[in-house]
Amino acid sequence: MAVQTGPATVRVVLPYPLYTLAQCAAELTLHVPRPVTLTRVIDALEAAHPRLAGAVRDRATGRRRPLVRFYACQRDLSNLDPGDDLPDAVAEGREPLLVVGAIAGG
């Protein structure tokens, strides 16, 4: 199998408050440098949609906002080290990375 060298094409699905804030589609296609990590996906997301800067991760600390979750491939990736590789299915665009507002507030 050929080694992929160019940017990966990653699908990201945003929740309603974020795609309305960014005035974009709910599902986006982003070009992300390899290896594909959460940090690189969010970097690409914020570069493409600057209105989302600070909405997914804290501006000061760079950490995921506590009530934002990341799901893909039926797995909760929220606590994955943001520098670790995302699953191949996400990096290859077969499965989207879901950005989810946590169920909270009763």
């Binding site: 804030l21 804290d58 000061a60 507002g101």
Partner: protein, 370 residues
Amino acid sequence: MPRIRVLVGTRKGAFILTSDAGRRDWAVAGPFFGGWEIFHMAGSPADPDRLYASQSSGWFGQVIQRSDDGGLSWNPVGNDFAYTGSPGTHLYYDGTDRPWAFKRVWHLEPSPSDPDTVYAGVEDAALFRSTDGGATWQELPALREQQGAKWMPGAGGMCLHTILLDPTDPQRLYVAISAAGAFRSDDGGASWRPINRGLHSQYIPDPEAEVGHCVHRIAMHPARPGTLFMQKHWDVMRSDDAGDSWFEVSGNLPSDFGFAMAVHAHEPDTVYVVPIQSDAEHYPPEGRLRVYRSRQGGQAWDALTEGLPQQHCYVNVLRDAMAVDTLPECGVYFGTTGGQVYVSADAGDHWQAIVRDLPAVLSVSVQTLS
């Protein structure tokens, strides 16, 4: 023909209420930013079509929105509120030291002369300023040098909720913080001093400490900026020396606990408060929603009830949810946690509900448009 525009921030979006000078028939627009908390909206006195809104969410953080057409359209501007240098720590409820961390913008105060200059009071308590229409924000860090390590959050968070700009002296600013107290700068924010002498707060270890008082609101009349009125956690206070000393003017109020406060647009000694039962019972005494007005700068207060519910009313009126217009017959406005926004077109004598079923109202500000 003058018009009135009322900017209402709620738990689930923003609303804009407009009327002619009669203030009887209102158009309601919104929700804007539906689902988001709108802590405050404010219009620029220098350009009334320039509006700012603080939009926030426990999930997705802070957004600052700006409109250049009186609220018809909005665009996000800068939301990077970075404390200057290493911000250090403040006290937390449990007595531990916590690093300063930005959470949200409570209050926006546009400059009276420049539409692009606006101040933001934030949680954790600090004052920021933008001079480019909200695109970028810079902290005025000397404020937190006023014993900031001793500041502790109030129950609603450690918020800088009140910003007053002296219209006669561009170098003079006042701010109030829960639960640190009131502070004044006489040099445009380069340096600050606590102005809490005369406050007495039994809920802190030293009731007369220099900082640590839970100030809920400060109000000023633009024609007499050296006189300040304060609604404290308990006690309604007054200062006639720009905050250097305070004395109590609670007088005959049924409760001197409360949040909101406003001064009549044309009568510097006419002050409005909404008494709340207690810090444990955030609703009007006896279930009767009453605005109290003093025409002599405090101490003697009259209940204003005409048109307000006088039974079974258990709403609150939050600190930023009362304002006045500047029409010749001063209009007074306030919003409740029950979603009502009330107006009085005759300085408080008679009230009517503009809307009754909005989400909980966090803030009300008023523009008088020519």
